[in-house]
Amino acid sequence: MINPFIGAILFVIFAPVLGGLVAGIDRKVTAHMQGRVGPPILQPFYDIFKLFEKESAVVRPEINFYIFCYLVFLVITGAIFFAGEDILLVIFALTLAHVFIVIAAYASSSPYAHVGAERELLMMMAVEPMLILAAAGMYVATGSFFVGEIIDFQLGGGGLLVTWIPLLFIGVVYILTIKLRKSPFDISTSHHAHQELVKGLTTEFSGPTLGMYEIAHLYELVFLLGFVWLFFAGSPLLGIVVVAVVYFLEILIDNTNTRAKWQFALRSAWLAALVLGVINLVALVLGIIQPGTLGVL
């Protein structure tokens, strides 16, 4: 296992670069799916740099503060994760970061941002159980909550994590759509101009304020992909392939689905957590699932 500090520092420095590239590829692939040429791969960087070239104008000055906190805590979330620390702590830090963005939207007192904030909060509530159950599954399978030890367990012949908790993996992929704010769950804000809420959550953020939000989003993207990778960490290259496949799947879902109502988002995410999570965890605790049971690897 590499030095935890190196992992954290690498994340802090390179996550925006990697995230920007992934987001750029996302837009390119999306465009191709729609028969368009699409923007350059580096487009997300242009967007962010542009936002910092703009004038700083706000609805309320505090909003900048809240968004700055959002950015800081997303960086901390990822840094804890890539330093190989406790996965539950990572989830809690992620929640804290999102509370700040929701507060930022509330504080702007705008009708659109307000509804966006409510919906974002709702989406947080929808994904939280799945994340905690996934962490619980990791603990039962590997005997540790520490990301570093979970990786070591897989490398040390414990078998890929996904062979222990396959259903939880599916559940995580399901909520990934919500976390990435992709269609059909882009109900709090979206990159596309089909919002009845204008831009929902981000309506009142402009210029550098929005720039901070976008940077935070890149950090989050890389962290989430890292979370998916963790399920295949025993075979790092395979893990990267799986992450690519999963992300491609997310783009496909984004492009082939209309937006759902919040009721569906909440109910389906909780149902997924309940059914997939409970079956997998109980099977794991009872020893029904062993790596190899599924004939994988």
């Binding site: 901390i76 009708p111 307000h114 204008v198």
Partner: protein, 635 residues
Amino acid sequence: MELLLFLILFPALMGFIFLVFPNNKARDAMVALAALVLIAATVILFIQNYSAGTVMYEIEPGAISMAMMALEVMLALAVLYLAVKYRQWIVGALAIIGTGVVLFAETLFTGPEHMNNLFVDEFTLIMAMIIGVIGSIICIFATGYMRDYHHHHEEIKDKRQGFFFLLFIFLSAMFGVVFSNNMFWLYFFWEITTLCSFLLIGYAWDEEARKNAFWALLLNLLGGLGFGGTFLYLAFTEPSGGLVMLDSLIAAGPAIAMIPAALIGFAGLAKAAQMPFSSWLLGAMIAPTPVSALLHSSTMVKAGVYVIVRFAPVYDASFVGFLIALVGGFTFLLASGIAISQSNAKRVLAWSTIANLGLIVTCAGIGNAAAVWAAILLIVFHAIAKSLLFLCTGTVEHRIGSRDIEDMGGLISILPRITIMMIIGIAGMFLAPFGMLISKWAALRAFLETPYGIFAVILIAFGSAATLFFWTKWMGRLLEVAWKPKPRREGEVSKPEFYSLLGLAAGVVIICLGFPLLSSAVVEPFLIGIYGIGASLGEQNIAIMLMMMVVVFILPVSLIFFRRDRRVIPHYVGGRAATMDMQFAGSMGVQRKVELSNYYFEGIFGEAKLGKAGNILCTLFIVCIGVVLAMGVIA
């Protein structure tokens, strides 16, 4: 030992003085003084004893026990009188049966009298700190609050003499509950807290207050039967009375102590307002706010979880313990869900109290060392953050004339300092890196170490998602500010109110920063004493937690940068001209106000629906406990 007796007797004595002291101003000063003495005494007790482990104190029980018995009979007769007067037949019956059973059981014991009637150990000390410090702060707050209360409610008769009498008797009884090793004594103090809460809930003594007060009394007397059952059981199995002592009963192990543990657990569940008993705590909202704060944070419900956590070693890895954990777990999940559908701040707080007590009960039911670690810290964090929130809500209510969260929009501009304290309290209830979350985290880890724990984990996972929702939307509402703020009204808050809030807010921060110290100095030795192993979160995690905490406190510095003048534009209202104070040009030339309000999801998280489900489920689990034990006895 003198200090223990002082803590039990001094508040009671002061209570009687307040009862006969008509001058409000002088009495308020005396209340504050007595509260400060209590705080000092508990701190001294803590410092003297925190490293001493378990210390037993020998007291000749004869005369004291007789006096208690006599008082119990008198109180039962008083309840009977009230019950007959207001035609509360069940309450009357329960009072007679409860006291009768205990008295009957007491005559069955034949052995010599036991001397170790009072004791102190680390857990007791923590409870004493909660009662002494937080309870006293609430009393100080009450002096300022009650003045306002009678100013706002002129129709209610001013009975402040009796009010402060009851508050102090309550504190005295709570000290008695946690210091007693003799379970007959414990039961005596337990019933006094029940009666005090009954009278305090009924303070206004109008029809609704009376109804709720009697309902609380009924459920708590019902729970109290658990003690009667325990005494009967012990009288038949061990007539020498050796097991009436708390320490020897717990040390006797599950084989002997399981049935008493379950019966006292039943009493605890009722007192801790777990489903299906939760309704009394909601009814208790009718009382003045300091009473709610007292019932919810440092006394009453904490007595309930105190006995359950005491018996945690007996529940450890047993099926009965698992069922108790399920009662707690479902209460946590459903009460958290119901809190989403509430807009009345006090009801949100009430449901959240029930939920958090559920979590504590779950920990105690699971009963291993790590879970008890989580439970004790939960008790501490919850007591301090919840009392702060209740008192803030009460203060705000007197300023803005409403306790509805929807009316608290933009409160940060009207009462900035109170609101910041409120936010500290809310953050303490659910956010990393603050208090409650630390325990929730520890609880999750603890549950996974036990065979059935996975079910508790599932309940917690969903429940904590719900808590996230209702706390954040409340916080958001407080911070939702129009540009042209309403005038500040902070100056109207009275001094005792403000300083007690400040003390509690500082307490939340200090306890969040200092919990590793509390854990290693007090909680871990306690666990080692019982289980032989300690429990904690691991140094690395605590280090990261504290680092995050530091970041949280440093970040506001950036406001200096962000507050520098920059262009301010009104918010976007679909292109209509909008003004800074959230007005916009509506159609036909009418200026309209933007009205925002939160989601409540009545359809999904409705109180009636979830409450009913919870009551049925939890009753079922409690019946299951009975069945399991009965089968054990028959087999």
